[in-house]
């Protein structure tokens, strides 16, 4: 048997769609364009990438819901195309969001039904469900209909469902999306506990802090290919030789952002919006002080706090993902 829990070689997936009846238009989208990765037994592996990068498609290829257009993948040594039943017995799947549960049923009945579907022996079901309700801290609320659950409670129930049959590999597709910070912290604790018990976890997330805290290794995927792969510490090297300037602002225009991006020494510039505040993040070469030039470009914009700091994993991620707009985009494997 293979030493890896997950192996993918040259995995590709093209979606073909057709719209219109009289004059049909066909469209092809290459969601995954040759993904190679291996995940060791018991490893907690992160798959990071922007929206539409191919994360969920990669997971659906690995968990048997989709067939690859090209390439191969094996989970626990079993081929995901031809040995679906063997693969399904060994995997659990959890995804983020409000859906995916039977709203009219209680948490207990949701788990009872999926225990039947996932082949949990009858004599074990009651004990296993009680264990899992306890693990995800839903004991005492298990008789309530799921339609009344908060998003955090639903997420925890998703995790319980994914673990019913003691899977060797657990796919977590953005499990903390839309969950409040306290619930997200609880989720992270649950995921860390799982990995500690030897379950292999493949986690996709948008949250760098989550990936940094939990993952043994991280692959950054963008535009359907893996752009970088390594431990969180190794990935941070992608931002080596840079410094970061953060400026709180109110009303930065696109033209000003473009002008900042064009300043000498500036490598990345982006704006994120938090409530009424914009946060302008500028990555620049470490030896170049761009603060004065940036503030000059922001003339007329109301400004708040201005901070200079060292790059984080998130800055490294931004650097990796933004590189795909460059004309050439070689795969960089940093250690690991």
């Amino acid at each position: 048997m293979s030493g890896y829990a997950i192996e993918a070689v040259g995995l590709r997936r093209t979606y073909r769609s057709r719209t219109g009846w009289l004059r049909p238009q066909r469209r092809e989208v290459e969601a995954v364009r040759g993904v190679d990765l291996t995940v060791g037994n018991g490893e907690l592996f992160g798959l990071l990438g922007p929206n539409g990068a191919g994360k969920t498609t990669t997971i659906k290829l690995l968990n048997t819901l989709l067939i690859p257009t090209a390439g191969t993948a094996r989970v626990c040594g079993h081929d995901v195309v031809t040995q679906t039943r063997e693969v399904r017995r060994r995997i659990g799947y959890v995804f983020g969001g409000d859906r995916g549960l039977y709203d009219r049923l209680s948490a207990r009945d949701n788990l009872r039904y999926f225990a039947e579907l996932y082949g949990v022996p009858a004599r074990e079901q009651k004990r296993r469900i009680a264990e899992l309700l306890d693990l995800v801290r839903l004991t005492g609320r298990e008789q309530e209909r799921v339609e009344g659950y908060s998003r955090g409670m639903r997420q925890r129930l998703h995790i319980a469902r994914g673990l019913l049959h003691r899977p060797r590999v657990l796919f977590l597709d953005e499990p903390s999306i839309g969950v409040d910070p306290v619930a997200a912290r609880e989720l992270r604790r649950t995921v860390a506990d799982l990995a500690a018990t030897g379950t292999t976890v493949l986690l996709t997330t948008h949250y760098m802090a989550e990936a940094d805290e939990l993952c043994d290794r991280i692959a950054v995927i963008a535009n359907g290919t893996i752009q970088a792969l390594g431990t969180p510490a190794e990935l941070r090297h992608h931002a080596d030789g840079r410094q970061v300037l953060e400026v709180e602002a109110y009303g930065v225009a696109d033209a000003q952002l473009a002008a900042i991006h064009a300043l000498p020494g500036v490598r990345e510039a982006s704006v994120t919006v938090t409530g009424a505040t914009q946060v302008l993040t500028v990555q620049s070469d470490a030896g170049v002080d761009v603060q004065a030039a940036v503030l000059r470009e922001l003339d007329g914009v109301r400004l708040g706090r201005v901070t200079a700091r060292q790059p984080t994993l998130e800055d490294a991620y931004v650097a990796i993902v933004n590189r795909i707009n460059a004309p050439t985009r070689p795969l960089e494997a940093v250690g690991g």
Binding site: N63, T64, L101, D109, R112, Y113, E116, L117, Y118, G119
Partner: protein
């Protein structure tokens, strides 16, 4: 044993999770009371037009009543998985699809039998139809066979829900076709040949014929061929549903045709 649990326990939980009409008001209003008014409508219309006697309409509409929960239930069994976003999790089950979905048919068929028996009883009481007591076991059998055949017919429609998003259109049309083509309200002799031929392949047609023979006191032996034909139609739909579920699931993996998650 595990297989029986999947079919029995799993089927009942899935029914509670996916059937829209489980609340008392919906169940009584849509499934118990509605068919009785439909029966009365056709019975009085039949009297006015002199097409057939009350027995024709009472028995025919009682058998037809079995179809309502089955046709829509079968559709809900798949379409509501899409609604709740649970279809992907069901398809990730390593268990037999046939067993999973067969289990879903049985509660709907049970529902159908209950509704048909209730419609027959109330219709007979309201319109004064006397059914021989010795015919009752046979009538119950006819209604049970009809309900089961309808259950598999509904599951076939549900299977289409794996491929086509707007499967409710198919269910609505199917209910109208059952009303028209199965001879429950329009005597088969009055239909064009091709409609009669289509009706022969639909559930209810043969069960309604057998049930009328039983209600007329002809005995189970006389009704047996019609009931056997109904069972054969039901079996045909069971096989068709199993095949479609397999084909459409395989296709969904190949073509990503399901918005599975």
């Amino acid at each position: 044993m595990a297989l029986f649990r999947l079919i029995g326990t799993g089927g009942v939980i899935a029914y509670r999770a996916l059937f829209n009409w489980t609340t008392p008001s919906m169940f009584i209003g849509s499934l118990l009371v509605g068919p009785i008014f439909q029966l009365l409508f056709f019975a009085y219309l039949g009297r006015q037009l002199g097409v057939a006697d009350d027995r024709f309409y009472i028995v025919g509409n009682a058998v037809l009543a079995a179809s309502l929960s089955c046709v829509f239930g079968g559709t809900m069994a798949v379409a509501n998985e899409r609604r709740f976003g649970t279809l992907g999790h069901v398809l990730l089950s390593p268990r037999s699809r046939t067993a999973v979905f067969l289990g879903r048919v049985l509660p709907y068929a049970g529902n159908g039998l209950l509704i048909a028996a209730s419609t027959l009883t109330v219709g007979a009481l309201l319109l004064g139809l006397r059914v021989p007591v010795r015919a009752l076991p046979g009538l119950l059998l006819a209604l049970a066979v009809a309900a089961l055949a309808c259950g598999f017919f509904g599951l076939t429609l549900g299977a289409l829900g794996l491929r086509f998003r707007d499967v409710w259109v198919v269910s609505n049309v199917s209910v109208a076709l059952l009303l028209l083509l199965t001879g429950v309200n329009v005597p088969a002799a009055g239909l064009p040949g091709w409609m009669r031929a289509v009706g022969e392949a639909l559930p209810i047609t043969h069960a309604a014929r057998g049930a009328r023979q039983l209600a007329a006191g002809e005995g189970l032996a006389a009704a047996a061929p019609a009931l056997a034909a109904e069972a054969a139609v039901g079996l045909g739909y069971a096989l068709l549903a199993a095949a479609l579920l397999k084909i459409f699931e395989a296709e969904s993996r190949r073509r990503a045709s399901l918005d599975a998650l």
